[in-house]
Symmetry: C2
Amino acid sequence: MNLLDGKIVSEHLLNQVSQNIQKFSKERPPHLAIIMIGNHPASETYVNAKIKTCEKYGIKGSLYHFPETISEKKLLQEIQILNEYSEIDGIIVQLPLPKHISENQVIETISPHKDVDGFHPVNIGRMSKNLTSLLPATPGGILELLKYYQIETVGKHCVVIGRSNIVGTPMSILMSRNAYPGNCTVTLCHTKTKNLDFFTKNADIIIIAAGQPELLKGNMVKEGVVVIDVGIHRVTDNTKKTGFRLTGDVEFDSVAPKCSYITPVPGGVGPMTIAVLLKNTCQVWLQKFQNQ
Amino acid sequence: MNLLDGKIVSEHLLNQVSQNIQKFSKERPPHLAIIMIGNHPASETYVNAKIKTCEKYGIKGSLYHFPETISEKKLLQEIQILNEYSEIDGIIVQLPLPKHISENQVIETISPHKDVDGFHPVNIGRMSKNLTSLLPATPGGILELLKYYQIETVGKHCVVIGRSNIVGTPMSILMSRNAYPGNCTVTLCHTKTKNLDFFTKNADIIIIAAGQPELLKGNMVKEGVVVIDVGIHRVTDNTKKTGFRLTGDVEFDSVAPKCSYITPVPGGVGPMTIAVLLKNTCQVWLQKFQNQ
């Protein structure tokens, strides 16, 4: 059993980002605009982590912080201003948003060319047609993990569990495209799936983003499977001093011994997401100079 | 075994289109612009059939016919003019295009609001996010067939064979969405799939758009399966006076006896595609009056 180490791979990816930035060190650095609404404590933590990582690798991160009471109309206008501002390469909006603001409206207002979260329909649509696009960060990060460890994917049966717009659905599309990683026969499972273990027992690669702690157990997988765990949960554990431990959607202790490769939680998919966000921002920025 | 009769269902759908048009009979009729480049004989046949069907059901169909030698730039300008012309509701481009013109560039130039073929990334992306969109015509037509015959889909294992941008890939996305028809566990198979019959034998619903005559045979499916055949091929048959017969991607004689429902070829999926094209055109037109 080998670990798919997200810390190593994200570091590798971010060093590439850094090197790309140094190539054009006479230009202004890449610039990521992060929009945050209100004072959701978890959001603040995520946003601070993003800005810190940006700075560490040579990307300027700017926080655009609006009050909880901002109207949808005003927010969309602010996004339009950022769309038109040529010195901003990437724009993301920290979710969740207050209830009076439509998430889809906000995402579709961001210019697809600056949509470094890869959530805009144009990017999802182009991805599904196997055209160049900004990939959604978590699925993009999983591709990077598979690539780094040179996991064979062509002709493999890949079972994706969970059909969210930001992980499961785009992941299933990516793994079935004619590309590497890709070219898998993909089964997309979700809450309406019957006999989940029929599919998982047949899978060569399982990517699980089900949002259920330790759903996937050892008796549900075959020997040699590759398992990618997108979940992260805090569960009660009285054997720990803190009274809790972190776990994923996979029961690691029973599944790992049967795997050829598996992601740890934490330290697997988690660090990849932010690395791809920065990679996407750098990609937009690079295009400006490469097209000159 | 029951037939999923595309003639009946397309007629039903087109009568609904007609009725919707009559509700606003004081307004101008819906208007579909069909762009054709060069003189591809098959394209001319398809285009004439589309215009005839339009007229039969109260939609104005206009042919914009350009010579084979038109430059890409000029074609894109012509599309822009049609985008801005408020009395045109839908725009389609008859494929294939001459080699010097990029199909993707052309599709992405059509306004997503007038893209009644449902090929624009915005429509594919919104579809994949389960938002309102103009559905691609063939997958949309298959949904209409399933709806009309009230085929149960929730929790079923649907195997889609073929991953083209216009049928297989969008079909797999639609069947796994949280909707009816939908909510299936979907496996997308293609040329790189190993053991295709492992998947087809387990399938409750098979949608095949593989482009290979009679690929799916009776020993590859289980009793009670629903089979939708998107293929249409002319194969040599010396027992026929004409020397050929039409067949699909399914070996009908061996598969049909095991099916609960199956589409005939011809007369199954074929007539649905054009019906959805007209339905989409009418949908765009209706929105103009409903929003007044």
